[in-house]
Amino acid sequence: MMIDIENVTDSYVSLKSNVTEANLNNSEKFKAELIAFIDEHNKKVVLDLSSISYMDSSFLGALVSSLKHAIASKNDILLVGLKPDIHNLFSLIRLDKVFKIYKNLTEATAI
């Protein structure tokens, strides 16, 4: 498993990636795991990506595809713990306008 479950509340499920290198090699498997969590819990997902130091476009595409799935089922994916390079990658292609990105779980669930 590339995603660990941290906590489940009435309003959200918090998940944590244990992947360091997020790329072509594991993007489809990660997406399948994430979608399985969304379908199983049917609530907002807070996804901690602090483990990731390297990310490529394949993985970004998998995250966008997962978000489409979440929104289609009236849920959402909130991202937390992005390292500076990863956050800048999201900003570069303006995916920071697509995903709700927060520093940590506390900030993400405060609203």
Binding site: N23, L24, N25, G61, L89, I93, K97
Partner: protein, 178 residues
């Protein structure tokens, strides 16, 4: 920026498991060749890392050869990273354009274009959309590789050499003047 003019060819096994080690190898070479300059310039380092990552990903994803090949050139004013492989030419957008501008992707955030300057010569360009609204998620593309390179490079081109059946992607990064 104090740079030693140099060139190095990298030939990696075409196996996506070695993607990150390959990236680290190229970055280590660039860091060595540019002294501390690259490491200390966050923006430049980010661009080089992103371009190299995406050229390698493109290679591992699309190359039908046994290897993924990068050629890196550094001089006092540029870093040039080229990815090449043998095989049939790549077509961007509608098949068979001889000249003109083809839109490769579009969403509310930006448009990516392939500008054909010949049958097998393309330069990539971006047009940012100024709308700050949150885009409709269904309209957002899931393919970001060319977009990332086009955004990070000062020039990003594709050329197919029909004589030796070679596909060549070239990303040029201008270095800040000393």
């Amino acid at each position: 920026m104090r740079i030693t003019t140099t060139r190095k060819e990298f030939i990696f096994l075409n196996d996506s498991l070695v993607l990150t080690p390959s990236l680290k190898q190229v970055l280590a070479f660039l860091e060595d060749s540019t002294g501390a300059s690259l490491v200390e310039n966050y923006e430049l380092h980010f661009k080089v890392k992103s371009i190299t990552t995406e050229l390698l990903t493109n290679g591992f994803k699309h190359s039908h050869a046994n290897t993924v090949n990068l050629l890196v050139d550094i001089d006092s004013s540029h870093i040039i990273i080229q990815k090449y492989d043998s095989g049939p030419p790549v077509t961007f957008g509608k098949p068979g354009p001889v000249a003109g501008k083809v839109q490769l992707s579009y969403d509310i955030m930006c448009r990516l274009f392939a500008n054909y300057t010949g049958e097998h010569n393309v330069s990539f360009s971006i047009e940012e959309c100024t709308d700050d609204e949150i885009p409709d998620i269904e309209s957002v593309t899931e393919h970001f590789g060319l977009l990332i390179i086009a955004k990070c490079a000062d020039e990003f081109t594709y050329h197919y050499n029909a004589e030796n059946r070679l596909n060549l992607f070239t990303a040029v990064i201008k270095l800040p003047s000393a």
